[in-house]
């Protein structure tokens, strides 16, 4: 066949790699949207369930796209490509820098809107480089709330207050905590705005065919973290457990387990616990282990795991990885990890 090429080729055409993840979203007939924070930023492709980062892969080959005219045995090139787009699945994110924090201070919400100018919820969803599912999950985790079409984040004190009121109401009216109706609950939450209750339920309950079910392990862990955070100094483990149990609303039956808080506390002295934020730990493994042993002289492998697993880039067995920077010491029947 004869091969032709347009003299002025059309540069509006682009090639995109149809990776299995992207094909899957198309098979599911999901909506696909290209997004970018601004014209100079990275490009993302968001579906209902996945977020793709789009990388432009340049090449120096001559790649011509042609239309094949079988009848006249010729093909005519109409586009020439010096790159292809590579979609790679990444975690989506919500940019909440413009979303104000809302606490109940007695201020009218209309005055709050005038003062803080929150973005609309629809706009926030549209501009977020996150799939629909990721947006919903992250928005719930952030205590995000849509009030009169505006996007706000509920403040910590407000969330505690609403959560306690919801639990107290469920207990007081003897409602099934594993299958309750949000509508019936709302009828009994006289002073709580429905938007607040929806936000708190989105984070602390799961929706089942029978209704909402309180996520008790999550509620337990969340209250435990708040108690841990409230004391900066080391506290006796026994006292901490008592304070944790006392933090729940009266008659709320929930179990506590300090292992559910692993990764959020350290043991600077025997039988003492203290809140610890791992965000500032060094990225260098040697320095990281040095810092950890400075805080706590000996560790159980389970309690050390959350502080070091991100460094194990070669996916070694955790114990083998830890042994490169620490040593194992036998104490009675148990082993502990100590400095080399």
């Amino acid at each position: 066949m004869d091969i032709y090429s347009w003299l002025q080729r059309d540069d509006s055409f682009h090639l995109i790699q149809m990776t299995p993840d992207l094909v899957k979203t198309m098979e599911n007939n999901e909506r696909l949207i290209f997004k970018s924070r601004d014209r100079d930023s990275s490009i993302f492709l968001c579906s209902d369930s996945k977020t793709f980062h789009i990388r432009k892969k340049n090449h120096s080959n001559t790649v011509i796209v042609l239309k094949h005219d079988k009848e006249n045995a010729k093909a005519i090139g109409f586009a020439s490509m010096d790159s292809e787009l590579e979609p790679k699945v990444v975690s989506g994110s919500i940019d909440i820098s413009d979303v104000p924090l809302f606490e109940e201070t007695g201020e009218e919400f209309t005055d709050f809107v005038k003062r803080t100018n929150p973005p609309s919820f629809a706009d926030l969803r549209a501009v977020s480089t996150a799939s629909k599912t990721e947006f919903d999950v992250q928005w719930a985790e952030l205590n995000g709330c849509e009030i009169d079409g505006h996007a706000v984040i509920l403040g910590f004190n407000l969330v505690v207050s609403v959560l306690k009121t919801i639990i107290t109401t469920l207990v007081a009216y003897d409602m099934d905590q594993e299958a309750f109706s949000a509508t019936k609950l709302q009828e009994r939450l006289e002073d709580i705005r429905p938007e607040f209750a929806r936000t708190v339920l989105a984070q602390f309950a799961t929706k089942t065919p029978a209704g909402y079910s309180l996520d008790k392990p999550k509620i337990s862990r969340w209250f435990g973290l708040q108690v841990l955070r409230s004391t900066l100094a080391p506290v006796k483990e026994e006292d901490f457990l008592i304070n944790w149990k006392d933090a729940f609303p009266a008659f709320f039956d929930v179990s506590i387990d300090i292992q559910s808080l692993v990764g959020s506390f350290v043991r600077p002295f025997p039988n003492m616990v203290q809140f610890y934020n791992s965000a500032g730990l060094p990225q260098d493994p040697v320095q990281r282990f040095k810092e950890l042993f400075k805080i706590q002289a000996s560790w159980s492998l389970e309690e050390m795991k959350p502080y070091v697993e991100d460094l194990n880039s070669r996916n070694l067995k955790l114990e083998s990885f830890v042994m490169k920077y620490a040593r194992r010491k036998r104490i009675g029947k148990n082993y502990v990890i100590t400095r080399r």
Binding site: L7, H14, V23, V63
Partner: protein, 153 residues
Amino acid sequence: MPSRSIEYDEVTESIPFGDLVEGGPVISTSSGLMILEIQGDLNLPQRIPDKLTETESEMYVQDESSLGINTADELGSSGSHTAVKFGKLDIDGKRATLYIGSSQRLVGTIEKIDPPLGLMRILSESSTEETPIQVLDVIRQKAIFRSRPLPIM
């Protein structure tokens, strides 16, 4: 924040991508699209040069056909395009030969593209942000020429 939705109705029929017919002589898609890849540059004129001989003039034609894909109307509205004949492609099983001019030939192969490539059209200048981006076709094979040109004898 810029955002554009994508329409891909035209390609959903070709999903999931099944196995290719091995050794098939046709490398174009059902809508007639194909890809030629040549290692290195291929310099083609961007306008018709002056003072052409009759034989040289015959290499330039007006292409008024549509692409045959669902943007045919849009492309048709942009008028005809001048095209230059730059070669002849012979396909024999998985072997492809591209004759360029009267003195050079490139020997290449028909290869599966993994992952397949979707052809998108992104209209930017005269369109608004509401214009969706279209995935027009999915191309799964290409003729690729990796070796140096050989003389035609």
